[in-house]
């Protein structure tokens, strides 16, 4: 087991390294291939009508004059060990994990990301409770009454749910129920106002995922109910309730929980569309602003954070699977 954990953890670290390289390449290699010069890149961070001297100075200040391998090395060192930045006469130490300072606002990236984590986490966890409860129960009921009116209505609604873009349902629900918009209140300030403000984003996000989960659960449940061991359970006289909950539901839920873990990991790295629809100041909103400003340290930071959550979620799901499912071989 220990060997398995170590191997998986190493794989996760490797994946993060690859992600950081690809993100770096997106910003430093792809624009060069497309014909943009380093001077043009640096000029974006100077201001209006930059002079050549200012561009050169900015290149040195941001480290853009160095070869890309050196820049990448500095970036990795900052995350692992922190790094020192010199601002004219004074030097500032940026403790690990250090994602540097924004090219545009000169603010350190990591503290800003930590500040915004609360919004994204609140959104993700609140919505996930709703969609897990709604999606799984609707899926199970649909499977148990396959072909009934309830099943057909639920499945048409679910298909509509996965066909509706979240920014449309979000805007529509805002226009119908809350034309003034959503303003985030921290849970530590006022838990009631926090829940009240997030209710609409939760329901909107949960509608999409509940639709997905209802479809998944129904399909999984139908497959499980056709298995031999369900017939065996019935044949030995178990009540239908026990057959459904202990035997069928248990087997159906394992793959659902896998998907659930991955979805949570994905959302924690920024619910980009939901946050920008409801103007919530979370990680996703930060990512959009960073990309629109072409602010490289911010984009690198937010992409790494998102990749971190996905990789960790993958790892946890894998390990739990190995514990829960005796068929997974650890070698």
């Amino acid at each position: 087991m220990a060997g398995f954990v170590i191997r998986r953890a190493l794989g996760a670290v490797l994946l993060l390294v690859v992600t950081s390289m690809v993100t770096f390449a997106i910003f430093f290699v792809v624009p060069r291939l497309a014909g943009q010069t380093v001077d043009q890149l640096a000029a974006q961070y100077v201001g209006k009508d930059p002079s050549q001297a200012e561009i050169e100075a900015t290149k040195v200040k941001l480290g853009l004059d160095q070869p890309i391998t050196v820049q990448y090395g500095r970036f990795v060192k900052g995350i692992v060990a922190g790094r020192e930045y010199s601002f004219g006469p004074s030097t500032e130490y940026c403790p690990p994990p250090c994602f540097g300072y924004s090219f545009k606002t000169q603010r350190p990236v990591w503290p800003d990301l930590v500040d915004r984590m609360e919004v994204t986490a609140s959104l993700a966890f609140g919505a996930s409770v709703l969609w897990l409860l709604a999606g799984v129960s609707i899926g199970v009921l649909s499977a148990l009454r396959k072909g009934s009116f309830f099943d057909r209505a639920a499945m048409i609604t679910a298909l509509a749910g996965v066909s509706l873009p979240i920014f449309f349902t979000g805007l529509l629900s805002l226009a119908l129920f809350l034309p003034t918009g959503v303003s985030y209140v921290s849970i530590t300030d006022d838990p009631l106002a926090w829940a009240k403000n997030l209710l609409l984003p939760w329901i909107t996000l949960a509608f999409l995922y509940a639709a997905l989960y209802a479809r998944l659960t129904r399909a999984g449940m139908l497959e499980t109910m056709g298995e031999d061991y369900i017939r065996t359970a019935r044949a030995k006289g178990l009540p239908e309730r026990i057959v459904v909950t202990r035997h069928a539901l248990r087997a159906t839920l394992t793959p659902i929980l896998t998907v659930f873990g991955l979805d949570i990991g994905l959302l924690l790295g920024g619910a980009v569309l939901t946050e920008s629809t409801f103007s919530l100041p979370g990680i996703g909103r930060y990512a959009i602003d960073a990309i629109n400003n072409n602010d490289l340290p911010q984009v690198l930071g937010v992409t790494m954070l998102a990749a971190f959550f996905i990789v960790v979620a993958n790892l946890i799901v894998d390990l739990l699977y190995a514990v829960a499912d005796p068929r997974v071989r650890l070698s």
Partner: protein, 333 residues
């Protein structure tokens, strides 16, 4: 096939012997395609989806013709139809601005014709949806077949690559990539470049989904007798993969392509909504929704119309895709 026996009309009632004798069409073999078509024909919901798709494609192709009939061009400003103080379409009620010249109203602020923008937006959505799916399916099928057929370290490498792709924060990468491409690059410029970039990004990031499915199917096909037969006749890897296995993979490829198109249409709409998709003035449904945000209380129809356009298109593809899967995959019932 033996030629049909010359039997009088009344003789069709005597069944078992006639069948055994090979008379009539009852014993004719049906190909998988025929069986699937027979099943699909009974699935009214899937057929409705297919009809909607055909209508949409025709409308998108005929967009210049249709807009000439109504008289609206997607880029002409009609500021006389817009209320100058609230920048909403003139008129009362929800359907303000709707008229015979402008069947779906006009845009707030600029007064451009919404109907023609929806039609031209359909061109963009469908074009990117289809082309991006083509890219994903081409890469995914190739990688999936190669991984499944060769196995061993090739399989390990490709499988790990697919895992890595699925572990990337795709939307962020797509946004970042679409954002850093300058307006003129790779010998292309303007919206031709934007479309090419979007097709590449969406297609390239989604191939592992179909790659995994094809790999799994190839693994089971590899053990079938006809592959052994081909190999024993001296067929090499490339022949077995593309002449023997690929035709047998047609069903899953068709099903998952149909289900990927709507996902890609949603992806394009999301990128355009977030401001890194098609550049104005070329219309795009996602961009129209983003433009509608400041006006959702004064001109709600401008939000509803492009939203419904996306919804109807995506739903139609999903219905057809689900129907195709049920028709082509005997285990799915």
């Amino acid at each position: 096939m033996t030629s049909p026996l010359d039997v009088p009309e009344t003789a069709t009632q005597a069944q078992p012997e006639a069948v055994l004798a090979g008379a009539g069409r009852a014993i004719e073999g049906r190909s998988l395609g025929q069986i699937a078509w027979l099943r699909l024909r009974r699935d009214r919901v899937a057929l409705a989806g297919g009809v909607v798709i055909v209508v949409l494609i025709l409308a998108a192709i005929a967009a210049p013709l249709l807009t000439r009939i109504t008289g609206g061009s997607p880029t002409d400003f009609h500021q006389d139809l817009v209320d100058p103080t609230f920048s909403k379409p003139k008129g009362e009620g929800t359907f303000a601005g709707f008229s015979w010249e402008h069947p779906l109203g006009v845009e707030p602020r600029s007064g451009r014709d919404v109907f023609s923008r929806i039609l031209y937006g359909a061109q963009i959505s469908l074009l990117i949806g289809f082309l991006a799916t083509l890219v994903s399916v081409a890469i995914g099928t190739l990688m999936g077949i190669v991984a499944g057929y060769f196995g061993g370290w090739v399989d390990t490498l490709i499988s790990r690559l697919m895992d890595a792709f699925l572990a990337f924060p795709l939307l962020l990468f797509a946004l970042a990539l679409a954002g850093v491409i300058p307006d003129r690059a790779f010998g292309l410029s303007g919206n031709t470049l934007r479309i090419a970039v979007l097709v590449f990004i969406i297609g390239f990031f989604n191939w592992p989904y179909i790659g995994r499915i094809i790999r799994g199917q190839t693994l089971s096909l590899r053990e079938r007798e006809f592959v052994d037969a081909a190999r024993s006749l001296g067929a090499r890897g490339r022949w077995v993969m593309f002449k023997e296995m690929l035709p047998n993979l047609a069903a899953p490829i068709l099903v998952y392509s149909t289900l990927m198109i709507p996902a890609n249409i949603l992806f394009e709409a999301a990128l355009s909504f977030l401001g890194v998709g098609i550049r104005p003035p070329t219309p795009s449904w996602g961009k129209m929704l983003a433009d509608a945000v400041p006006f959702y209380s004064v001109a709600p129809m401008y939000l509803v119309v492009p939203g419904l356009a996306i919804f109807v298109t995506v739903m139609a593809f999903n219905l057809l895709g689900d129907g195709l899967r049920d028709a082509l995959d005997p285990r799915a019932r």
